[in-house]
């Protein structure tokens, strides 16, 4: 919504999507800024006029529908009732009034004085406590609208029914709109514009070690983060791409045919990692695609600084980089040779990345009644298997049934130098994995990264920089693509 006008007084709010303007509800503004304040003034004016009854008596023009509806909201009624009871109590015993400290409608429950008053009601017996033991005097209740009494208005109900008769349900509002409005309106023309909520910047701490993981900059305009320790930056990034260029796009994977994909893991850390991958032989979900990782155990070389990489320092020294240079030579030799994927062999390896082959046979038909439990592979304690079971119970063919996703259990083992500062703040719950296959992106939560990283000995704590083995295990989901539907026509090959 936007303020719109020709640089002169009345301004209106306008929605450029649905062409609604605030003129529809009879609200105009005097200036183009501070819309919220002006709106509060327009509606607040209504509030100060104690009641609907008095409005009718006053010689002001008839208020518009939303303003009228707003005046009957719980807040203003409460304010009216409060002021009524305050005056009544003051009449009863002017010098001992528990509500004396409350100033009209501006009751501040969070203020310390209010809090002290409430607490003293329960603890002290010298002041209010004594009074409670005494005889209470009867007090009259509110009798008319100026005192906050609202009678059930049959006329309003009849009017509402009449509107429903005339316009049907089209003029009514939905639940979402009703929740957003403070005054419980019924029809669209009773709604009032609401200010947008302000954004908050949140920082995040680790639940176990209280280390700050994410902290935004204090400056309002800046969207950067002062601290950003994401789990994502401490686990290998995964990309998946087809080994051979598939005949069709990834949104139409041919079923019942072994398809080979290259899964590349890239190590962001400065330690070499031992990786073990596990996957259920058949994916859970409505269709049991069979998945085989040809080389589930391999190592990832350590990452190095960008400068080292650029200057070629990393390749000449240190023991594990010797292997890197050897491999580089090997890569040079057979770059264009057609390779065949072999079981138990790494497809390709770089300084801090390794590629293995994953073979997938996409299944077209839906699963049989008993969901096939995964043979081999790690135990499926994760939600995926549960989902599979549930889905098998009451299976419905949904839109995304043909999406081919592979649950992948990743276990990392690496040695980390122990410094005096203790562990790094690697304890964020959510791990999102994106495939570069261009087909689908998927994210999964691997709860318990922090919990899983428990296999750390307390060995090297004797002041010196020791090494200790860390173990990390989590589940990830690889999105591959969609399985082609035999009934739908395949897209033409190019």
């Amino acid at each position: 919504m936007d303020g719109e006008g020709v640089a002169a007084a009345p301004w209106i709010l306008e929605c450029q999507y649905c062409n609604w303007t605030s003129l529809d509800i009879g609200i105009t503004f005097d200036k183009p800024n501070n819309i919220h304040g002006q709106l509060a003034k327009i509606l607040g004016k209504a509030r100060s006029k104690v009641s609907l009854l008095l409005d009718k008596l006053s010689d002001e023009p008839e208020p518009t529908e939303p303003v009228k509806a707003f005046r009957a909201d719980p807040d203003s009624r409460f304010a009216t009732l409060l002021s009524f009871y305050k005056s009544e109590l003051a009449k009863e015993n002017p010098n001992d009034n528990p509500f004396a400290s409350i100033s009209g409608a501006n009751t501040d429950y969070s203020s310390p004085s209010s809090f002290a008053r409430i607490m003293s009601l329960y603890t002290n017996t010298n002041n209010y406590g004594r009074k409670a033991s005494g005889k209470s005097t009867p007090m009259r209740g509110a009798v008319d609208a100026s005192e906050g009494l609202v009678l059930v208005n049959h006329l309003a109900d009849e009017k509402a029914i009449d509107i429903l008769h005339r316009t049907g349900l089209s003029q009514t509002i939905n639940t979402e709109q009703r929740i957003a409005q403070p005054h419980n309106p019924r029809f669209q023309n009773e709604m009032i514009p609401q200010a947008t909520l302000l954004c908050t910047k949140r920082s995040r701490r680790c639940r176990t070690c209280r280390h700050i993981l994410v902290k935004p900059e204090a400056k309002i305009n800046n969207t950067r983060y002062k601290i950003k320790l994401l789990a994502l930056n401490h686990i290998p990034s995964m990309t998946l791409k087809p080994l051979t260029s598939l005949p069709s796009t990834l949104s139409h994977l041919p079923p019942n045919k072994p398809l080979q994909f290259l899964l590349t893991l890239r190590n962001p850390m400065f330690e070499a990692i031992k990786v073990s991958l596990g996957t259920p032989a058949q994916t859970p979900g409505p269709r049991a695609h069979s998945v085989t990782i040809l080389c589930p155990d391999f190592t990832l070389g350590a990452n190095a600084d960008v400068w080292d990489e650029a200057l070629g320092i990393g390749l000449s020294n240190s023991n594990q980089n010797k292997r890197g240079s050897k491999l580089l030579l090997k890569d040079l030799n057979n770059t264009e040779e057609s390779k065949v994927a072999e079981a138990g062999k790494v497809w390709e390896r770089g300084r801090n990345w390794t590629t293995v082959v994953v073979e997938v046979v996409a299944c077209q038909s839906l699963k049989g009644p008993p969901p096939p439990l995964p043979r081999g592979g790690p135990p499926l304690s994760f939600g995926a298997s549960l989902e599979g079971l549930l889905e098998a119970e009451d299976r419905e063919v949904t839109e995304d049934d043909d999406v081919l996703e592979i649950p992948l259990f990743v276990r990392l083992e690496y040695e980390q130098a122990v410094t005096e500062g203790g562990s790094t703040g690697l304890a964020v719950g959510n791990v999102a994995t994106t495939t570069a296959a261009g087909a689908t992106t998927s994210a999964t939560s691997a709860d318990g990264i922090s919990a899983a990283g428990g296999g750390e000995g307390e060995g090297g704590r004797d002041g010196d920089i020791g090494k200790r083995t860390r173990e990390l295990a989590y589940w990830a989901v690889l999105g591959v693509g969609r399985v082609a539907n035999p009934s739908a026509k395949m897209p033409e090959q190019k």
Binding site: C15, Q16, Y17
Partner: protein, 186 residues
């Protein structure tokens, strides 16, 4: 992304901008590309829509700030998208304001952009429509087919979608989208 075209599809400038020969660019003198920007086939940039000033008494229309569209580094304009400087009525006459696009911005195929400002690391989905004088702040994401009404401000890090666009989520703390790879692959 479109399949790779035959050689010579793109004209590469000194600053690394890759401009498709099949794109339509009007008013080239009023456009600044920040370098390493990709303009793909059938993308349209309306650089001819300048701010017109009526302040001169002679009445001759004169461009004050001769800038219609400005992009940052690694802006990727997908096929068929339209960059249109936002219209503005200034003292009763139609004028346009400069459209500023930040670094690492992806604009999906067929998107129609009439936003006043798009921040850095913004991802705009295919077929999205950004209404006139809308503001897309840094790191925001506009989903495919979303219609952002004119004048709407999408806060930084928000994901908006739907017609009309509403906030549906936040982009989180992960590393934002980077146009480097996309630029290299074209």
């Amino acid at each position: 992304m479109a399949p790779k075209q035959a050689k010579g599809e793109y004209i590469e400038t000194e600053a690394g901008n890759k401009v498709s020969r099949r794109s339509q660019i009007h008013g080239t003198t009023n456009i600044i590309l920040g370098g390493r920007t990709v303009i793909q086939a059938e993308a349209v940039i309306r650089g001819d829509l300048l701010r017109t000033s009526t302040s001169t008494s002679s009445g001759a229309q004169q461009s004050v700030a001769s800038l219609a569209v400005q992009t940052g580094k690694y802006a990727i304009l997908s096929p068929g998208c339209v960059l249109h400087p936002p219209r503005k009525y200034h003292r009763g006459t139609l004028s346009h304001t400069t459209q500023k696009i930040g670094d690492n911005v992806y604009i999906g195929p067929g998107a129609i952009i009439e936003a006043a400002t798009i921040g850095s690391n913004v991802w705009i989905g295919a077929g999205a429509v950004l209404g006139r004088l809308s503001f897309i702040r840094d790191g925001a994401k506009v989903l495919d087919g979303a219609v952002v009404p004119g004048g709407m401000i999408v806060n930084s890090g928000d994901i908006v979608g739907g017609r009309p666009a509403r906030k549906v989520g936040e982009t989180g703390w992960g590393d934002p989208w980077d146009g480097r790879e996309a630029w290299r692959s074209i």
